[in-house]
């Protein structure tokens, strides 16, 4: 870990701890979990070069599994979330296996299509999933503690979310992550060096799905509700939007993007019922104007200001 990473980590933890004090707790929880979701997308997109436009399948698949487990067996929420993660990864295995047979734009379309398939299946499988009604009245259980209030649940879920962030960070900075980046940059070369690139990509896909599943599980339990919205393709799109807005290949960017989009949607919700007008416009502006994303652009500006500032002081010193 570099000093910059440590500083960012400290800042991130402080922000995460302070969030429910600053915002109302439901919004804080939303930001926290969407941030983890966006990070899972970035793990795949920014480091593996794979744009999954179907991550709603894992966010929603995990969410439904966790909600059903918590409701049916009255399980503590971390255990239910574990089940959600397992379900998301189990879904990711076949989907990922098929999707990584194509690259780039095709991979995006294939993942999108499979996620939509899951949407239809969950919609039709009414006996289990409740169809359009979703799974309602999911209990928030943690033995020895009362986590019924959203603010309490936020702090109870925070360690799990931080663990999710940590896993993503470790994956990216491990030898595995470096191979992944080399595959992103030049798959043929990585192959020539003897790496089984398909296997690396599949593992990355499943890991990313697991993190998305964790986020989705906590989201469904936190809201006491799993609905079809979790699986809709606009959900996948939002996660990609957040990642691109914050900056691909930064991990932090996704979290920042999630915060910006959700704060914006929240403040606009009183004004307009159709947030897509705003988020769509943002995405268009980002793609046209700041393709690198906000976090890298801001870092660049900060570095530029810094270097200008230090140059000025050194200039001043030279003049003396």
């Amino acid at each position: 870990m570099t000093r910059r990473d440590l500083a960012l980590l400290a800042l991130g933890i402080v922000v995460a701890l302070a969030l429910p004090r600053v915002l109302y707790s439901a919004l804080a929880l939303r930001i926290l979990l969407w941030a983890l979701f966006a990070v899972s997308v970035d793990l795949l997109l920014g480091y593996g070069g794979m744009l999954s436009f179907g991550h709603a399948a894992f966010w929603g698949g995990g969410g439904y599994a966790a909600a059903l487990l918590a409701k049916t067996y009255q399980l503590p929420f971390p255990v239910a979330a574990l089940g959600g993660i397992a379900c998301a990864m189990a879904l990711a295995l076949p989907i990922g296996y098929l999707a990584i047979r194509r690259r780039g734009i095709y991979l995006a379309m294939v993942t999108l299509a499979f996620a939509q398939m899951l949407f239809y299946v969950v919609n039709e499988w009414r006996d289990v999933t409740g169809g359009e009604n979703g799974v309602q009245g999911v209990p928030k259980i943690l033995p020895g503690l009362s986590v019924g209030r959203t603010a309490d649940f936020y702090y109870a879920a925070l360690p799990l979310v931080l663990l999710g962030f940590f896993v993503a960070y470790r994956v990216v900075h491990s030898p595995f992550g470096h191979v992944l980046v080399s595959i992103r940059d030049n798959e043929t070369r990585a192959q020539a060096l003897g790496y089984p690139t398909q296997r690396y990509k599949l593992i990355a896909f499943v890991l990313s799905a697991g993190i998305a599943g964790l986020a989705g599980s906590l989201y469904a339990i936190g809201n006491s509700f799993a609905s079809l919205d979790l699986l809709h393709w606009t959900t996948s799109g939002s996660a990609v939007l957040m990642t691109v807005l914050g900056g691909m290949g930064t991990l932090w960017g996704g979290a920042v993007g999630a915060a910006i989009v959700l704060l914006l949607e929240d403040s606009l919700s009183s004004v307009t019922e159709a947030p897509g007008v705003v988020t769509g416009a943002i995405l268009i502006a980002i793609v046209l104007g700041f393709r690198r994303g906000l976090v890298p652009e801001l870092l660049r500006v900060a570095e530029w200001l810094w270097s200008r500032g230090s140059r000025r002081t050194s200039d001043a010193r030279a003049h003396q």
Partner: protein
């Protein structure tokens, strides 16, 4: 039946992708705009179905040409993912803007009187209008194929696609052709929308699920070829309808199952070419 719409939409997607290297996520929104254009022409100006069949696609295509000039043009030469993201943003924007204006409720659009009858094949009756849609879709697809593969105009377009710089050097305004092709692909989607208007309610979200099914069709057919896009479109339409006979819930799932099989057996798509993988 759905095959006609799949074919028109995936044909437009394939043409646009072939020339611009952009997978147009907004294609479903364009389809919806086509239907709304027909609806508004009728409501506001009393213009009926037949003129709308021509006017609505033209109007929407003009809008598409403006979008291409102002927005998409800036992304050429970049990773196609950016075009995908941009058009995704456009789709969100258009859909929600229409929802703000017209609400979520669907609006009915009358079937043209000339086609409102129904023919019977033995025991089952079939609306004439649906036959008309299928026939028109086939005619348009064949005409498009002919235009691109067999005429001088198509030759210019293909040259501009494959060797842009060289074609430019021969004194052909490549940029203008690119705009024209994009507008044409948009017009096909809008035409599908007009055709859909009498069969389905005209609603802001009518294209939002169709676009994903169309993507699946495109993956199955292989993005490289026009024939592939059209053939896969009709094929899947027929298969999905057959599946729906057994169980209505199957109709959409079949498309995705087929996609999974094609990915396993022939990742480049049924009619896919070398570049596609």
């Amino acid at each position: 039946m759905n095959g006609a719409f799949y074919a028109l939409l995936s044909l437009g997607l394939a043409i646009i992708f072939g020339v611009l290297r952009v997978v147009n996520f907004a294609h479903g929104a364009v389809y919806m705009l086509g239907a709304f254009a027909a609806y508004l022409l009728l409501q506001q100006f009393g213009v009926g179905f037949w003129p709308a069949l021509l006017l609505a696609p033209l109007g929407v295509a003009a809008l598409g040409a403006v979008v291409e000039r102002l927005l998409l043009r800036r992304l050429y030469g970049l990773d196609p993912l950016y075009g995908f993201l941009l058009t995704f943003g456009l789709a969100l924007f258009i859909q929600d803007a229409m929802r703000l204006r017209f609400g979520i409720q669907g609006q009915p659009y009358p079937t043209p009187a000339e086609l409102s009858a129904s023919v019977s094949f033995g025991v089952v009756g079939y609306p004439v209008y649906r036959l008309f849609v299928i026939a028109l879709a086939i005619a348009v697809c064949v005409a498009t194929w002919y235009l691109i593969e067999r005429t001088r105009l198509g030759m210019v377009v293909r040259a501009a696609t494959e060797r842009g710089e060289l074609t430019r050097a021969l004194g052909i305004d490549v940029d203008r052709w690119i705009t024209a092709v994009f507008a044409f692909g948009i017009a096909l989607a809008a035409l599908a929308g007009v055709l859909a208007a009498p069969m389905r309610n005209v609603a802001p979200l009518m294209g939002s699920e169709l676009i994903i099914l169309t993507f699946a069709v495109v993956v199955i057919g292989g993005m490289g070829s026009i024939v592939g896009a059209v053939a896969a479109g009709f094929l899947i339409g027929v298969l999905a309808s057959l599946g729906a006979v057994f169980n209505p819930a199957f109709e959409n799932v079949i498309v995705f199952a087929l996609m999974a099989v094609v990915l396993l057996v022939r990742p480049a798509g049924l009619f896919g070419s070398r570049e596609a993988a």
